[in-house]
């Protein structure tokens, strides 16, 4: 290290550089987070003086309540569906788009476009498409699949899957771009060597390319699960968690209780549970899956 300044000056410089960011981060991220833990121990409306201290009662109520349990299940279902549907789909499409195609650059931009739209705009677009008797229903009818038409957002058995389709439309481009970047990182020599050893195209893909994509896939899985656990905007605008809580997520449940029913303490408890779930997942995932790939990027 070069020309280390004297102690006091160094400290001054350090606090000048680090101080403002810490102040902002602590003030608007860490303090609210700590306050959430504090409020979660009270039965409080969010107005007037802090209500009655109830200890872990809010947590117990949330964890034993069927609506919250369903919300957790919905988040998990979305996460699992993403893994079994979106991941293979993104890999297949990325492999295809990695071939030498005319207009490939254009294709990549197009596929990625929905990702830059806000979830709010995405939600409104699909609300309009899915209106009963609307665009989606007419297209199905024209394709001879009119019998499939359903109450896409009003049917409790279906609403979550409808939302999943919308989520896939919005986020698939992200997976494809990520995997394409991963594919580009695989040297051509590796594939050529496999081909020289007599491997078929499928064998090369299966035994050489896919394992080398491992790090990219693991990152995608991480982001996808965290995103699924935190799902809010899209669901809130499209269904408000309905009908009859059939599409509640942890985040819509928490906002609903905190801001619509003024159960501030209870909502905070839900928030803390949501955070603990995300954090635990991140720690375990970091420890068991990501460790080989990244050094200290997360956590």
């Amino acid at each position: 290290m070069s020309a280390v300044p004297s102690g006091l000056r160094r400290k001054l410089e350090l606090s000048l550089f680090l101080g403002p960011a810490l102040l902002l981060f602590i003030g608007f991220v860490l303090v609210p987070m700590g306050l959430a833990v504090y409020y979660s121990l009270y039965n409080w409306t969010g107005f007037g003086s802090l209500g009655e201290f109830t200890g872990f009662q809010n947590y117990l109520d949330a964890l034993t309540g069927s609506v919250f349990q369903n919300a957790v299940w919905h988040n998990v279902l979305i996460a699992v569906l993403s893994l079994v549907v979106q991941l293979p789909l993104s890999i297949a499409l990325a492999l295809l788009l990695n071939r030498k195609l005319r207009g490939r650059a254009f294709l990549r931009v197009i596929v990625f476009a929905p990702y830059v739209l806000s979830e709010a705009i995405t939600a409104v677009i699909w609300l309009l498409i899915l209106q009963p008797g609307g665009f989606a229903d007419q297209v199905l009818g024209a394709a001879g699949l009119g019998g499939l038409v359903r109450q896409w957002l009003a049917d409790p058995d279906l609403v979550l899957f409808t939302l999943f389709v919308v989520i896939t439309w919005k986020y698939i481009g992200f997976g494809i771009i990520l995997l394409l970047a991963g594919l580009q990182g695989i040297p051509a020599e590796v594939r050529e060597a496999a081909a020289l050893d007599g491997a078929s195209a499928w064998q090369t893909t299966r035994h050489v390319v896919l394992p080398l994509l491992g790090p990219t896939m693991r990152i995608w899985i991480f982001l996808s699960v965290i995103g699924s656990l935190q799902l809010f905007d899209l669901v809130w605008i499209m269904t408000l968690g309905g009908p009859a809580n059939a599409s509640t997520t942890m985040a819509t449940y928490l906002i609903d209780h905190g801001f619509k029913r003024y159960e501030f303490g209870f909502g905070s408890a839900v928030a803390v549970i949501l955070f603990i779930i995300c954090f635990t997942f991140a720690l375990l995932y970091q420890r068991f899956a990501l460790r080989r790939d990244t050094q200290g990027a997360v956590g």
Binding site: S2, A3, P5, R10, L14, L16, F17, L18, P20, A21, L22, F25, G27, F28, V29, L30, P32, L35, A36, L93, L96, R99, L101, V109, I110, V111, F112, A113, V116, L117, S118, A120, I121, A123, V124, I125, W126, L128, I129, Q131, F135, D137, Q138, W169, A181, L229, F232, D233, W236, A251, I255, F259, G267, A271, L274, F275, C278, T294, A297, V298
Partner: protein
């Protein structure tokens, strides 16, 4: 060559599925609600300009757009300025607790904004920052700091210390070194984090939803959602409004595509 034609077929299918909803929205804005109700998937016939015209000449749309822009610019500026300073301290100074501070920021990556929202709302109420663009911009900047620092620190670390030594020999202070050498050298990474912070703030929905009650303060995502529920009977108008709301995001994306993609793929690899 058979594989190649399958590839083209799939490519066309993918484009179709991606683009058709967007085209439906854009073209729908050129129709009347009656046209849409009687034939949802039809083409405009005749083409109607009223919807777009009404929205482009109403102050509402421009107000939302202006609010979004103001908040995103303030949030981005703060995140990049404070984030680059912190990343500099965390990458070029040796001090006790450095890794602990860094870890604290990285934990922020795992905070869903929803978790902190309830107390954040109270805090903003206490500070009398409700209905205030800063009430949204400051928290958004704060929530953008972790990813900013996580991207910038390795980048700043990789800049050789010989450059620093030379600068010091030439009489530069640390602050001068940061300002005149580090920041220009970090320009590519700075652009990436700026784009990410901007897009995040631009697309945010929950925080503006809680902070703003007065529609004069609404941002575009909030405005779109509200407009949709307000005019749900007038589909054509909502489609035109939504189509126009997509323009800034898609336009910005066309300009910054390489940065967005590069930032996302780069950031997740640490």
């Amino acid at each position: 060559m058979k594989r190649q034609s399958i590839a083209y077929l799939v490519a066309i299918l993918v484009i179709g599925i991606t683009v058709v909803p967007l085209i439906f929205v854009i073209l729908g804005g050129f129709r009347t609600t009656q046209q849409i109700n009687s034939d949802p998937a039809g083409l405009p016939s005749p083409w109607v300009l009223d919807n777009y015209q009404a929205i482009l000449t109403s102050p509402e749309f421009w107000t939302f757009l202006g609010n979004s822009l103001l908040i995103a610019v303030v949030a981005t500026t703060l995140a990049v300025a404070l984030g680059s300073m912190a990343a500099f301290a965390l990458s070029r100074y040796n001090f006790r607790g450095r890794e602990a501070w860094y870890t604290l920021f990285t934990i922020g990556l795992l905070f869903p904004i929803g978790v902190a929202t309830l107390p954040l709302y109270l805090l903003l109420r206490q500070l009398e920052m409700l209905e205030n663009p800063l009430g949204v911009a400051l928290p958004e900047a704060a929530f953008s700091l972790p990813v900013t620092i996580v991207i910038l620190r390795p980048f700043m670390r990789a800049i050789p210390s010989e450059i620093e030594d030379a600068a010091v020999l030439d009489g530069a202070t640390r602050i001068g070194f940061f300002w005149r050498i580090m920041l220009p050298l970090s320009a590519p990474a700075l652009t990436t984090v700026a784009v990410l912070a901007f897009v995040t703030s631009w697309n945010a929905y929950l925080l503006p939803l809680l902070v703003f009650n007065d529609s004069g303060n609404f941002t575009l995502p909030l405005g779109v959602a509200t407009f949709q529920s307000q005019y749900s009977q007038d589909t054509a108008r909502v489609l035109a409004f939504t189509a126009l709301s997509m323009v800034p995001a898609l336009g910005f994306f066309m300009l910054a595509e390489r940065r967005i993609v590069g930032g996302l793929t780069g950031s997740v690899k640490g």
